[in-house]
């Protein structure tokens, strides 16, 4: 059965259109007029469909001394006359394929701290917790071993989430639409 037509107030429609035009930052305006950090940047390349600046690259444009200033989305090494310590070139931008990104991200290795290890650590923590409860009926010291494992896997989950979710929320990526 089709949903009936939703009757919206004019203010809602105006807010939806404004958000669509000006990006996600538009809804975060203060009531007294000073804007939050906005994601949209003026004078942008028209071939870019959507421009979401990472939060770490925001410019506080509501402060007067930052008027007219812009933040670069990429790190541009102006004096890259040398290589890195191990001989690798100093590149500000890397061209990769989706497969490379996904293979790195969906890896289950704890050392990489990737998204796959978040799921694995979460599962192992709860499994250890269940075995700990069962081991309490046998021996309290045996349960202590599994209690240590609960803490270990939970901390692995937290670290993986830090480096593969929160850290990457501040890193730029350009992809095809």
């Amino acid at each position: 059965m089709r949903k009936p037509i939703q009757v919206r107030r004019l203010e809602e429609i105006r807010h939806i259109v404004h958000s669509a035009e000006h990006g996600h930052g538009s809804h975060a305006h203060h009531e007294h007029g000073a804007p939050f950090f906005t994601h949209k940047q003026e004078g942008i390349n028209p071939y870019l469909a959507d421009y979401n600046k990472p939060w770490s690259a925001q410019t506080a444009t509501h402060i007067k001394e930052n008027e007219g200033k812009r933040t670069l989305p990429m790190y541009l090494p102006m004096s890259a006359n040398d290589t890195q310590g191990d001989g690798k070139p100093v590149n500000s931008i890397h061209l990769k394929t989706r497969m490379d990104i996904m293979n790195d991200v969906l890896d289950e290795d704890y050392k990489n701290g990737s998204v796959g290890s978040i799921y694995r650590s979460y599962f192992m923590a709860w499994l250890s917790f269940a075995i700990m409860l069962f081991a309490l009926t046998i021996n309290v010291y045996l349960a202590g071993v599994f209690a240590y494992l609960v803490g270990y896997y939970w901390s692995e989950k937290e670290l993986s989430q830090t480096w593969s979710v929160e850290w990457w929320k501040g890193k730029t990526l350009i992809s095809t639409v």
């Binding site: 071939y47 979401n52 990429m74 931008i93 990769k96 996904m102 929320k169 990526l173 350009i174």
Partner: protein, 100 residues
């Protein structure tokens, strides 16, 4: 075969950018890109599991309950195809540029 070259307009050299009517690049964060494909990854694993289970069930029922075996093996092929499509999307060679 008839020759329609006189009726067709002549093909001209043009750049990739000149013909695009819409933008073709999107700038976002790494997590935003990963989040777009996370559900596809989960579905890929899910359908791969269903395909393996259906295949094992089909082999098990092959001589005892043949009709069930046929259905199970058909389901295994179906789920494998669903898994393959999602794997193809994740293994795509489409370029992305990552910055610092």
């Amino acid at each position: 075969m008839t020759d329609n070259s006189e009726m067709m307009p002549p093909v001209q050299m043009s750049s990739v950018l000149a013909d695009t009517k819409q933008p073709f690049l999107k700038m976002s964060t790494r997590w935003d890109y990963i989040a777009r494909y996370l559900d596809i990854w989960k579905e890929m694993i899910k359908f791969r599991g269903y395909a393996v289970i259906s295949f094992i069930a089909g082999i098990y029922l092959l001589f005892s309950f043949t009709i069930g075996a046929v259905i199970a093996l058909g389901a295994a092929t179906y789920f494998w195809e669903l898994h393959k499509f999602r794997l193809h999307r994740l293994e795509s060679q489409r370029s992305v540029m990552i910055g610092h």
